[in-house]
Protein backbone atom coordinates (compact mmCIF):
# COMPACT_ATOMS: atom_id res chain seq x y z
CA UNK A 1 0.00 0.00 0.00
CA UNK A 2 0.95 3.62 -0.42
CA UNK A 3 1.39 5.95 2.50
CA UNK A 4 1.05 9.68 2.00
CA UNK A 5 2.59 12.16 4.43
CA UNK A 6 1.73 15.88 4.53
CA UNK A 7 4.63 18.12 5.45
CA UNK A 8 4.44 21.82 6.25
CA UNK A 9 7.33 24.27 6.15
CA UNK A 10 7.17 26.31 9.36
CA UNK A 11 9.32 28.61 11.48
CA UNK A 12 11.67 26.37 13.47
CA UNK A 13 10.36 25.60 16.95
CA UNK A 14 13.47 27.11 18.57
CA UNK A 15 12.93 30.54 17.03
CA UNK A 16 11.57 33.27 19.27
CA UNK A 17 9.18 34.94 16.89
CA UNK A 18 8.72 38.70 16.73
CA UNK A 19 5.54 40.51 15.77
CA UNK A 20 6.10 43.13 13.03
CA UNK A 21 5.85 46.76 14.08
CA UNK A 22 3.01 47.45 11.63
CA UNK A 23 1.00 44.53 13.08
CA UNK A 24 0.64 42.77 9.72
CA UNK A 25 2.18 39.51 10.88
CA UNK A 26 5.34 38.03 12.35
CA UNK A 27 8.84 38.69 11.09
CA UNK A 28 9.83 35.87 8.72
CA UNK A 29 12.97 37.55 7.39
CA UNK A 30 16.08 35.41 7.80
CA UNK A 31 14.25 33.13 10.19
CA UNK A 32 15.19 29.44 10.28
CA UNK A 33 12.50 27.33 8.61
CA UNK A 34 12.00 23.62 9.27
CA UNK A 35 9.68 20.69 8.84
CA UNK A 36 6.79 21.08 11.30
CA UNK A 37 7.87 18.86 14.26
CA UNK A 38 4.68 16.79 14.14
CA UNK A 39 5.30 16.12 10.45
CA UNK A 40 8.76 14.74 11.25
CA UNK A 41 6.94 12.26 13.44
CA UNK A 42 4.56 11.54 10.55
CA UNK A 43 7.48 10.90 8.18
CA UNK A 44 9.14 8.60 10.72
CA UNK A 45 5.96 6.57 11.17
CA UNK A 46 5.50 6.20 7.42
CA UNK A 47 9.10 5.13 6.91
CA UNK A 48 8.74 2.56 9.69
CA UNK A 49 5.64 1.17 7.94
CA UNK A 50 7.77 0.74 4.85
CA UNK A 51 10.62 -0.85 6.78
CA UNK A 52 8.14 -3.27 8.36
CA UNK A 53 6.91 -4.28 4.90
CA UNK A 54 3.42 -2.85 5.48
CA UNK A 55 3.87 -0.04 2.98
CA UNK A 56 5.45 -0.18 -0.46
CA UNK A 57 5.85 3.50 -1.06
CA UNK A 58 6.00 6.65 1.02
CA UNK A 59 5.03 9.88 -0.74
CA UNK A 60 5.42 13.30 0.84
CA UNK A 61 3.33 16.31 -0.12
CA UNK A 62 3.82 19.92 0.76
CA UNK A 63 1.67 22.87 -0.21
CA UNK A 64 3.29 26.30 -0.42
CA UNK A 65 6.06 28.33 -1.96
CA UNK A 66 8.86 26.72 -3.98
CA UNK A 67 11.07 26.89 -0.86
CA UNK A 68 9.01 23.97 0.51
CA UNK A 69 11.25 21.80 -1.68
CA UNK A 70 13.78 21.99 1.17
CA UNK A 71 11.37 20.34 3.59
CA UNK A 72 10.38 17.75 0.97
CA UNK A 73 14.10 16.96 0.49
CA UNK A 74 14.46 16.55 4.24
CA UNK A 75 11.61 14.03 4.18
CA UNK A 76 13.21 12.22 1.24
CA UNK A 77 16.49 12.05 3.17
CA UNK A 78 14.61 10.51 6.08
CA UNK A 79 13.38 7.71 3.82
CA UNK A 80 10.36 8.89 1.85
CA UNK A 81 10.42 7.70 -1.78
CA UNK A 82 9.16 10.67 -3.72
CA UNK A 83 7.77 14.12 -3.25
CA UNK A 84 4.95 16.28 -4.51
CA UNK A 85 5.00 20.04 -4.26
CA UNK A 86 1.76 21.88 -4.80
CA UNK A 87 3.19 25.25 -5.49
CA UNK A 88 1.56 28.56 -4.73
CA UNK A 89 2.82 31.86 -3.39
CA UNK A 90 -0.60 32.67 -1.90
CA UNK A 91 -1.54 32.09 1.71
CA UNK A 92 -3.35 28.75 1.85
CA UNK A 93 -5.67 28.00 4.78
CA UNK A 94 -6.43 24.56 6.26
CA UNK A 95 -9.66 23.91 4.32
CA UNK A 96 -7.91 24.66 1.03
CA UNK A 97 -4.87 22.57 2.03
CA UNK A 98 -7.27 19.74 2.79
CA UNK A 99 -8.87 20.13 -0.66
CA UNK A 100 -5.47 20.02 -2.31
CA UNK A 101 -4.48 16.96 -0.27
CA UNK A 102 -7.78 15.27 -1.19
CA UNK A 103 -6.93 15.72 -4.88
CA UNK A 104 -3.54 14.08 -4.28
CA UNK A 105 -5.08 11.26 -2.24
CA UNK A 106 -7.50 10.57 -5.10
CA UNK A 107 -4.67 10.60 -7.61
CA UNK A 108 -2.35 8.35 -5.61
CA UNK A 109 -4.97 6.10 -3.98
CA UNK A 110 -3.03 6.12 -0.71
CA UNK A 111 -4.35 3.82 2.02
CA UNK A 112 -2.85 5.61 4.97
CA UNK A 113 -2.44 9.36 5.09
CA UNK A 114 -0.44 10.78 7.98
CA UNK A 115 -0.44 14.46 8.94
CA UNK A 116 0.77 16.27 12.02
CA UNK A 117 -1.62 16.97 14.86
CA UNK A 118 -1.02 20.67 14.38
CA UNK A 119 1.27 23.05 12.58
CA UNK A 120 3.19 25.06 15.18
CA UNK A 121 2.82 28.37 13.32
CA UNK A 122 -0.96 28.74 13.10
CA UNK A 123 -1.70 26.14 15.81
CA UNK A 124 -4.87 25.27 13.89
CA UNK A 125 -5.09 21.49 14.28
CA UNK A 126 -7.57 21.18 11.42
CA UNK A 127 -6.07 19.91 8.19
CA UNK A 128 -6.06 16.14 8.83
CA UNK A 129 -9.62 16.11 10.12
CA UNK A 130 -10.80 18.26 7.19
CA UNK A 131 -9.11 15.96 4.70
CA UNK A 132 -10.83 12.97 6.30
CA UNK A 133 -14.18 14.74 6.01
CA UNK A 134 -13.71 15.72 2.35
CA UNK A 135 -12.52 12.27 1.39
CA UNK A 136 -15.30 10.59 3.38
CA UNK A 137 -12.72 8.61 5.31
CA UNK A 138 -12.18 7.62 8.92
CA UNK A 139 -9.85 9.61 11.12
CA UNK A 140 -7.61 8.84 14.09
CA UNK A 141 -6.24 12.04 15.55
CA UNK A 142 -3.50 12.65 18.13
CA UNK A 143 -2.08 9.16 17.67
CA UNK A 144 0.52 7.83 20.10
CA UNK A 145 0.49 4.26 18.75
CA UNK A 146 -0.43 2.80 15.37
CA UNK A 147 -0.94 -0.82 14.34
CA UNK A 148 -2.00 -1.60 10.83
CA UNK A 149 -4.15 -4.69 10.39
CA UNK A 150 -6.08 -6.21 7.51
CA UNK A 151 -8.22 -3.40 6.13
CA UNK A 152 -8.15 -1.62 9.47
CA UNK A 153 -5.79 0.23 11.76
CA UNK A 154 -5.81 0.25 15.54
CA UNK A 155 -4.76 3.55 16.99
CA UNK A 156 -4.10 4.72 20.54
CA UNK A 157 -5.02 8.37 20.89
CA UNK A 158 -3.98 10.99 23.43
CA UNK A 159 -7.18 12.47 24.86
CA UNK A 160 -7.74 14.88 27.75
CA UNK A 161 -8.27 12.20 30.36
CA UNK A 162 -5.52 9.83 29.20
CA UNK A 163 -5.45 7.38 26.31
CA UNK A 164 -8.11 5.69 24.22
CA UNK A 165 -7.85 3.05 21.54
CA UNK A 166 -10.02 2.99 18.43
CA UNK A 167 -10.13 0.90 15.29
CA UNK A 168 -10.58 2.68 11.97
CA UNK A 169 -11.30 1.37 8.49
CA UNK A 170 -8.67 1.88 5.79
CA UNK A 171 -8.10 4.12 3.96
CA UNK A 172 -7.69 6.41 6.94
CA UNK A 173 -6.18 9.69 8.06
CA UNK A 174 -3.90 9.61 11.09
CA UNK A 175 -2.65 12.74 12.85
CA UNK A 176 0.48 12.37 14.96
CA UNK A 177 0.99 13.26 18.60
CA UNK A 178 4.41 13.80 20.14
CA UNK A 179 4.84 10.35 21.58
CA UNK A 180 4.07 8.29 18.46
CA UNK A 181 7.78 7.79 17.81
CA UNK A 182 11.15 9.47 18.01
CA UNK A 183 12.20 10.67 14.57
CA UNK A 184 15.62 9.62 13.31
CA UNK A 185 18.27 11.93 11.93
CA UNK A 186 19.12 11.84 8.25
CA UNK A 187 22.50 10.25 7.48
CA UNK A 188 24.85 11.90 5.01
CA UNK A 189 24.54 9.10 2.40
CA UNK A 190 20.75 9.38 2.65
CA UNK A 191 20.92 13.15 2.20
CA UNK A 192 22.95 12.54 -0.97
CA UNK A 193 20.53 9.88 -2.20
CA UNK A 194 17.58 12.19 -1.57
CA UNK A 195 18.93 14.64 -4.12
CA UNK A 196 18.19 12.10 -6.84
CA UNK A 197 14.63 11.36 -5.81
CA UNK A 198 11.80 12.93 -7.81
CA UNK A 199 9.67 15.84 -6.76
CA UNK A 200 6.64 16.46 -9.00
CA UNK A 201 5.22 19.93 -9.01
CA UNK A 202 1.61 20.96 -9.54
CA UNK A 203 -0.34 24.12 -8.94
CA UNK A 204 -3.68 24.18 -7.10
CA UNK A 205 -5.29 25.05 -10.47
CA UNK A 206 -3.81 21.89 -12.02
CA UNK A 207 -5.67 20.00 -9.32
CA UNK A 208 -8.84 22.02 -9.81
CA UNK A 209 -8.74 23.52 -6.33
CA UNK A 210 -9.66 27.12 -5.52
CA UNK A 211 -7.48 28.14 -2.60
CA UNK A 212 -8.95 31.62 -2.00
CA UNK A 213 -9.02 32.16 1.79
CA UNK A 214 -12.30 32.96 3.55
CA UNK A 215 -10.64 34.12 6.73
CA UNK A 216 -8.79 37.41 6.68
CA UNK A 217 -6.15 38.40 9.21
CA UNK A 218 -6.90 41.99 10.22
CA UNK A 219 -3.94 42.38 12.53
CA UNK A 220 -1.35 40.52 14.55
CA UNK A 221 -0.30 41.88 17.93
CA UNK A 222 2.09 40.76 20.65
CA UNK A 223 0.45 39.13 23.68
CA UNK A 224 0.17 41.26 26.80
CA UNK A 225 3.53 41.15 28.56
CA UNK A 226 3.88 39.95 32.14
CA UNK A 227 5.24 42.31 34.75
CA UNK A 228 8.75 41.37 35.85
CA UNK A 229 8.73 39.42 39.10
CA UNK A 230 11.17 39.10 41.95
CA UNK A 231 13.63 36.48 43.17
CA UNK A 232 12.93 35.39 46.73
CA UNK A 233 15.78 34.29 48.98
CA UNK A 234 14.11 31.47 50.86
CA UNK A 235 11.11 29.17 51.00
CA UNK A 236 9.89 31.14 54.07
CA UNK A 237 9.90 34.33 52.05
CA UNK A 238 8.10 32.59 49.19
CA UNK A 239 5.33 31.32 51.45
CA UNK A 240 5.05 34.73 53.10
CA UNK A 241 4.68 36.46 49.71
CA UNK A 242 2.09 33.95 48.49
CA UNK A 243 0.05 34.40 51.67
CA UNK A 244 0.35 38.11 52.33
CA UNK A 245 1.24 39.80 49.06
CA UNK A 246 -0.30 37.70 46.26
CA UNK A 247 -2.93 36.25 48.63
CA UNK A 248 -3.23 33.06 46.58
CA UNK A 249 -2.82 30.65 49.49
CA UNK A 250 -4.10 30.90 53.02
Amino acid sequence: MKVLVAVKRVVDYNVNIRVLGDNTGVDLNNVKMSVNPFDEIAIEEAVRLKEAGTAEEVIVVSVGASACQEQIRTALALGADRGILVETEEEVQPLAIAKVLKAIVDKEQAQIIITGKQAIDGDNSQTGQMLAALAGLSQATFASELQVGDGTATVTREVDAGLETITVKLPTIITTDLRLNEPRYASLPNIMKAKKKTIDTFTPEDLGVDVTPTVKTLKVTPPSARQAGIIVESVEELVDKLKNEAKVIS
Binding site: Y13, Q126, T154, V159, D160, I231
Partner: protein, 309 residues
Protein backbone atom coordinates in the same frame (compact mmCIF):
# COMPACT_ATOMS: atom_id res chain seq x y z
CA UNK B 1 -29.11 34.64 14.68
CA UNK B 2 -28.92 31.25 16.34
CA UNK B 3 -25.78 29.77 17.82
CA UNK B 4 -25.19 26.08 18.39
CA UNK B 5 -22.82 25.06 21.18
CA UNK B 6 -21.75 21.42 21.15
CA UNK B 7 -21.29 20.62 24.83
CA UNK B 8 -18.94 18.03 26.24
CA UNK B 9 -20.45 16.08 29.12
CA UNK B 10 -20.03 12.92 31.15
CA UNK B 11 -23.66 11.81 30.68
CA UNK B 12 -24.68 13.34 33.98
CA UNK B 13 -23.50 16.93 33.68
CA UNK B 14 -21.88 19.31 31.23
CA UNK B 15 -18.15 19.96 31.54
CA UNK B 16 -16.67 23.28 32.63
CA UNK B 17 -15.18 23.69 29.15
CA UNK B 18 -18.72 23.68 27.70
CA UNK B 19 -19.72 26.49 30.07
CA UNK B 20 -16.80 28.49 28.66
CA UNK B 21 -17.97 27.82 25.09
CA UNK B 22 -21.47 28.98 26.10
CA UNK B 23 -19.92 32.15 27.55
CA UNK B 24 -18.22 32.80 24.19
CA UNK B 25 -21.58 32.30 22.47
CA UNK B 26 -23.08 34.90 24.82
CA UNK B 27 -20.30 37.30 23.86
CA UNK B 28 -21.25 36.82 20.19
CA UNK B 29 -24.92 37.35 21.03
CA UNK B 30 -28.02 35.56 19.75
CA UNK B 31 -30.22 32.62 20.65
CA UNK B 32 -28.13 29.85 22.16
CA UNK B 33 -28.89 26.19 21.58
CA UNK B 34 -26.82 23.46 23.18
CA UNK B 35 -26.32 20.02 21.65
CA UNK B 36 -25.81 17.08 23.98
CA UNK B 37 -24.88 13.99 21.99
CA UNK B 38 -24.16 10.68 23.67
CA UNK B 39 -25.63 7.38 24.79
CA UNK B 40 -27.63 7.64 27.98
CA UNK B 41 -27.09 11.39 28.19
CA UNK B 42 -30.57 12.62 29.16
CA UNK B 43 -29.39 13.77 32.59
CA UNK B 44 -26.65 15.86 31.00
CA UNK B 45 -29.35 17.45 28.84
CA UNK B 46 -31.22 18.45 31.99
CA UNK B 47 -28.13 20.09 33.52
CA UNK B 48 -27.51 21.93 30.24
CA UNK B 49 -31.07 23.30 30.34
CA UNK B 50 -30.26 24.99 33.67
CA UNK B 51 -27.25 26.89 32.33
CA UNK B 52 -27.87 30.62 32.31
CA UNK B 53 -28.48 32.08 28.87
CA UNK B 54 -29.31 28.83 27.07
CA UNK B 55 -32.58 28.91 25.10
CA UNK B 56 -32.85 25.34 23.94
CA UNK B 57 -31.13 22.02 24.51
CA UNK B 58 -31.04 19.38 21.81
CA UNK B 59 -30.45 15.87 23.08
CA UNK B 60 -29.24 13.23 20.64
CA UNK B 61 -29.25 10.05 22.67
CA UNK B 62 -28.04 7.17 20.53
CA UNK B 63 -25.43 4.40 20.73
CA UNK B 64 -23.71 5.89 17.68
CA UNK B 65 -22.60 8.82 19.84
CA UNK B 66 -21.42 6.82 22.84
CA UNK B 67 -17.69 7.38 22.53
CA UNK B 68 -17.45 10.70 20.76
CA UNK B 69 -16.37 9.08 17.48
CA UNK B 70 -15.64 12.04 15.23
CA UNK B 71 -17.25 10.62 12.09
CA UNK B 72 -20.62 10.07 13.76
CA UNK B 73 -20.73 13.25 15.84
CA UNK B 74 -19.71 15.36 12.84
CA UNK B 75 -22.41 13.78 10.67
CA UNK B 76 -24.99 14.60 13.33
CA UNK B 77 -23.88 18.22 13.69
CA UNK B 78 -23.79 18.73 9.92
CA UNK B 79 -27.34 17.40 9.64
CA UNK B 80 -28.64 20.22 11.87
CA UNK B 81 -25.78 22.71 11.39
CA UNK B 82 -26.99 24.77 8.45
CA UNK B 83 -29.67 26.34 10.68
CA UNK B 84 -27.07 28.25 12.65
CA UNK B 85 -24.88 31.32 12.17
CA UNK B 86 -22.20 29.93 14.50
CA UNK B 87 -21.24 26.48 15.74
CA UNK B 88 -18.99 26.39 18.81
CA UNK B 89 -17.27 23.85 20.97
CA UNK B 90 -14.47 24.01 23.51
CA UNK B 91 -10.88 23.50 22.36
CA UNK B 92 -10.62 20.08 24.01
CA UNK B 93 -9.27 16.84 22.56
CA UNK B 94 -12.85 15.98 21.64
CA UNK B 95 -13.75 19.35 20.10
CA UNK B 96 -10.49 19.46 18.17
CA UNK B 97 -11.29 16.03 16.79
CA UNK B 98 -14.77 16.54 15.31
CA UNK B 99 -15.10 20.30 14.73
CA UNK B 100 -12.76 20.59 11.71
CA UNK B 101 -14.68 17.66 10.22
CA UNK B 102 -17.90 19.61 10.70
CA UNK B 103 -16.39 22.71 9.11
CA UNK B 104 -15.09 20.85 6.06
CA UNK B 105 -18.41 19.07 5.52
CA UNK B 106 -20.14 22.46 5.62
CA UNK B 107 -17.42 23.79 3.28
CA UNK B 108 -16.46 26.60 5.66
CA UNK B 109 -13.30 27.47 7.55
CA UNK B 110 -12.81 26.76 11.23
CA UNK B 111 -11.37 29.39 13.51
CA UNK B 112 -9.51 27.46 16.19
CA UNK B 113 -9.09 28.28 19.84
CA UNK B 114 -10.60 31.77 19.95
CA UNK B 115 -9.52 33.85 22.92
CA UNK B 116 -11.72 36.86 22.23
CA UNK B 117 -14.88 37.94 20.39
CA UNK B 118 -14.55 41.28 18.60
CA UNK B 119 -17.83 41.07 16.69
CA UNK B 120 -20.06 38.37 15.25
CA UNK B 121 -17.55 37.68 12.46
CA UNK B 122 -14.26 38.82 13.99
CA UNK B 123 -12.31 36.92 16.61
CA UNK B 124 -8.95 36.90 18.37
CA UNK B 125 -6.84 33.79 18.60
CA UNK B 126 -3.31 32.97 19.71
CA UNK B 127 -0.81 31.79 17.09
CA UNK B 128 2.85 30.73 17.34
CA UNK B 129 2.37 29.13 20.77
CA UNK B 130 0.70 32.27 22.07
CA UNK B 131 3.60 34.52 21.07
CA UNK B 132 1.27 36.51 18.84
CA UNK B 133 -2.44 37.21 18.83
CA UNK B 134 -4.20 37.32 15.47
CA UNK B 135 -7.46 39.18 14.91
CA UNK B 136 -9.27 37.38 12.11
CA UNK B 137 -12.47 37.99 10.21
CA UNK B 138 -14.51 35.29 8.53
CA UNK B 139 -16.66 35.77 5.45
CA UNK B 140 -18.17 32.28 5.70
CA UNK B 141 -21.93 31.94 6.12
CA UNK B 142 -21.45 29.69 9.14
CA UNK B 143 -18.67 30.35 11.62
CA UNK B 144 -17.24 27.19 13.11
CA UNK B 145 -15.26 28.08 16.23
CA UNK B 146 -13.44 26.32 19.03
CA UNK B 147 -13.05 28.24 22.26
CA UNK B 148 -9.98 28.49 24.49
CA UNK B 149 -10.89 27.20 27.95
CA UNK B 150 -9.07 29.93 29.83
CA UNK B 151 -10.32 32.87 27.78
CA UNK B 152 -13.88 33.45 29.00
CA UNK B 153 -15.50 33.28 32.43
CA UNK B 154 -17.74 30.21 32.36
CA UNK B 155 -21.50 30.74 32.04
CA UNK B 156 -23.38 30.19 35.31
CA UNK B 157 -24.41 26.55 35.65
CA UNK B 158 -27.72 27.61 37.23
CA UNK B 159 -30.43 30.11 36.55
CA UNK B 160 -31.55 29.02 33.09
CA UNK B 161 -34.66 27.13 32.08
CA UNK B 162 -34.20 26.07 28.49
CA UNK B 163 -36.61 23.81 26.64
CA UNK B 164 -35.35 20.32 25.84
CA UNK B 165 -35.91 18.73 22.44
CA UNK B 166 -34.98 15.15 21.66
CA UNK B 167 -33.38 14.61 18.29
CA UNK B 168 -34.17 11.34 16.63
CA UNK B 169 -31.14 11.28 14.38
CA UNK B 170 -28.90 8.21 14.23
CA UNK B 171 -25.71 8.69 12.27
CA UNK B 172 -23.52 5.64 12.39
CA UNK B 173 -21.02 6.13 9.59
CA UNK B 174 -19.48 2.72 10.28
CA UNK B 175 -15.94 4.05 9.76
CA UNK B 176 -14.53 3.61 13.23
CA UNK B 177 -15.15 1.85 16.50
CA UNK B 178 -14.07 2.36 20.08
CA UNK B 179 -12.02 -0.35 21.78
CA UNK B 180 -10.84 0.77 25.21
CA UNK B 181 -9.43 3.55 27.32
CA UNK B 182 -6.75 4.04 29.93
CA UNK B 183 -7.95 6.86 32.06
CA UNK B 184 -6.03 7.98 35.12
CA UNK B 185 -8.13 7.97 38.30
CA UNK B 186 -8.46 11.56 39.41
CA UNK B 187 -7.80 12.06 43.11
CA UNK B 188 -7.22 15.76 42.63
CA UNK B 189 -8.93 18.58 40.76
CA UNK B 190 -8.79 18.41 36.97
CA UNK B 191 -5.91 20.47 35.53
CA UNK B 192 -8.11 22.75 33.47
CA UNK B 193 -10.45 23.40 36.42
CA UNK B 194 -7.94 23.78 39.27
CA UNK B 195 -7.26 27.14 40.90
CA UNK B 196 -3.79 26.01 41.98
CA UNK B 197 -1.43 23.83 39.92
CA UNK B 198 1.98 22.50 40.82
CA UNK B 199 3.91 21.09 37.86
CA UNK B 200 7.09 19.09 37.63
CA UNK B 201 9.61 18.90 34.82
CA UNK B 202 12.66 16.91 33.87
CA UNK B 203 14.31 18.19 37.05
CA UNK B 204 12.08 15.80 39.04
CA UNK B 205 14.33 12.99 37.74
CA UNK B 206 11.73 10.21 37.97
CA UNK B 207 8.08 9.41 38.58
CA UNK B 208 8.52 8.47 42.25
CA UNK B 209 9.78 11.96 43.05
CA UNK B 210 6.40 13.38 41.97
CA UNK B 211 5.29 12.24 45.45
CA UNK B 212 7.01 15.40 46.69
CA UNK B 213 4.62 17.47 44.61
CA UNK B 214 1.63 15.34 45.61
CA UNK B 215 2.10 16.13 49.23
CA UNK B 216 2.17 19.87 48.52
CA UNK B 217 -0.78 19.52 46.14
CA UNK B 218 -2.86 17.79 48.80
CA UNK B 219 -2.27 20.62 51.24
CA UNK B 220 -3.15 23.28 48.66
CA UNK B 221 -6.01 21.44 46.99
CA UNK B 222 -3.95 21.72 43.81
CA UNK B 223 -3.82 19.75 40.57
CA UNK B 224 -0.54 18.31 39.33
CA UNK B 225 0.84 19.08 35.90
CA UNK B 226 4.04 18.31 34.02
CA UNK B 227 6.26 19.43 31.19
CA UNK B 228 6.52 17.46 28.00
CA UNK B 229 9.99 16.27 29.01
CA UNK B 230 8.55 14.71 32.17
CA UNK B 231 5.80 12.97 30.17
CA UNK B 232 8.13 11.79 27.39
CA UNK B 233 10.52 10.38 29.98
CA UNK B 234 7.62 8.34 31.35
CA UNK B 235 7.58 10.01 34.81
CA UNK B 236 3.84 10.74 34.51
CA UNK B 237 0.98 10.13 32.03
CA UNK B 238 0.19 12.28 28.99
CA UNK B 239 -2.95 13.83 30.44
CA UNK B 240 -0.74 15.88 32.78
CA UNK B 241 1.14 17.73 30.04
CA UNK B 242 0.80 21.49 30.10
CA UNK B 243 1.76 23.49 27.02
CA UNK B 244 1.27 24.38 23.38
CA UNK B 245 0.37 20.81 22.59
CA UNK B 246 -0.88 19.76 26.00
CA UNK B 247 -3.39 21.49 28.26
CA UNK B 248 -3.81 25.23 28.41
CA UNK B 249 -4.27 26.38 31.99
CA UNK B 250 -4.64 29.70 33.78
CA UNK B 251 -5.00 29.04 37.51
CA UNK B 252 -4.65 31.64 40.28
CA UNK B 253 -1.34 30.06 41.22
CA UNK B 254 1.01 27.98 39.03
CA UNK B 255 4.12 26.53 40.65
CA UNK B 256 6.73 25.26 38.16
CA UNK B 257 9.26 22.91 39.72
CA UNK B 258 12.33 21.79 37.78
CA UNK B 259 10.92 23.19 34.54
CA UNK B 260 13.18 25.30 32.32
CA UNK B 261 10.40 27.34 30.70
CA UNK B 262 10.59 26.49 26.98
CA UNK B 263 8.19 28.57 24.87
CA UNK B 264 6.07 25.49 24.27
CA UNK B 265 5.57 25.07 28.01
CA UNK B 266 4.98 28.78 28.62
CA UNK B 267 2.29 28.68 25.93
CA UNK B 268 0.21 26.55 28.25
CA UNK B 269 0.56 28.48 31.51
CA UNK B 270 1.70 32.04 31.07
CA UNK B 271 -1.79 33.44 31.55
CA UNK B 272 -1.80 32.13 35.13
CA UNK B 273 -2.46 34.88 37.67
CA UNK B 274 0.60 34.22 39.83
CA UNK B 275 3.55 32.13 38.67
CA UNK B 276 6.16 30.65 40.99
CA UNK B 277 9.31 28.99 39.65
CA UNK B 278 11.63 26.76 41.61
CA UNK B 279 14.75 25.97 39.61
CA UNK B 280 18.41 25.57 40.48
CA UNK B 281 19.55 27.37 37.33
CA UNK B 282 19.20 31.12 37.84
CA UNK B 283 19.28 31.64 34.05
CA UNK B 284 16.32 29.37 33.36
CA UNK B 285 13.82 31.22 31.12
CA UNK B 286 10.96 30.30 33.46
CA UNK B 287 12.18 33.09 35.76
CA UNK B 288 11.32 35.65 33.08
CA UNK B 289 7.62 34.94 33.50
CA UNK B 290 7.66 34.13 37.23
CA UNK B 291 6.22 36.56 39.76
CA UNK B 292 8.23 34.80 42.45
CA UNK B 293 11.37 32.91 41.57
CA UNK B 294 13.34 30.72 43.95
CA UNK B 295 16.80 29.62 42.82
CA UNK B 296 17.22 26.39 44.73
CA UNK B 297 17.56 22.64 44.56
CA UNK B 298 14.00 21.37 44.35
CA UNK B 299 14.82 18.35 46.49
CA UNK B 300 15.54 20.74 49.33
CA UNK B 301 13.01 23.47 48.55
CA UNK B 302 9.89 21.37 47.95
CA UNK B 303 10.08 19.44 51.25
CA UNK B 304 10.64 22.77 53.02
CA UNK B 305 7.61 24.23 51.28
CA UNK B 306 5.61 21.17 52.25
CA UNK B 307 6.63 21.57 55.90
CA UNK B 308 5.68 25.26 55.96
CA UNK B 309 2.15 24.77 54.58
Amino acid sequence: MSILVVAEHDNSSVKASALVAIAAAQAIGGDIEVLIAGAGCAAAGETAAKVAGVNKVLVADNDAYSHDLAENIAALIVEIGSNYSHILSATTASGKNFMPRVAALLDVAQISDISGVVSEDTFERPIYAGNAIATVQSTDSIKVLTVRGTAFDPAAADGGSATIENLDIAKDEGLSSWDKEEIAELERPELTAASIIISGGRGMQNGENFALLESVADKLGAAIGASRAAVDAGFVPNDMQVGQTGKIVAPDLYIAVGISGAIQHLAGMKDSKVIVAINKDEDAPIFQVADYGLVADLFKAVPELDALL
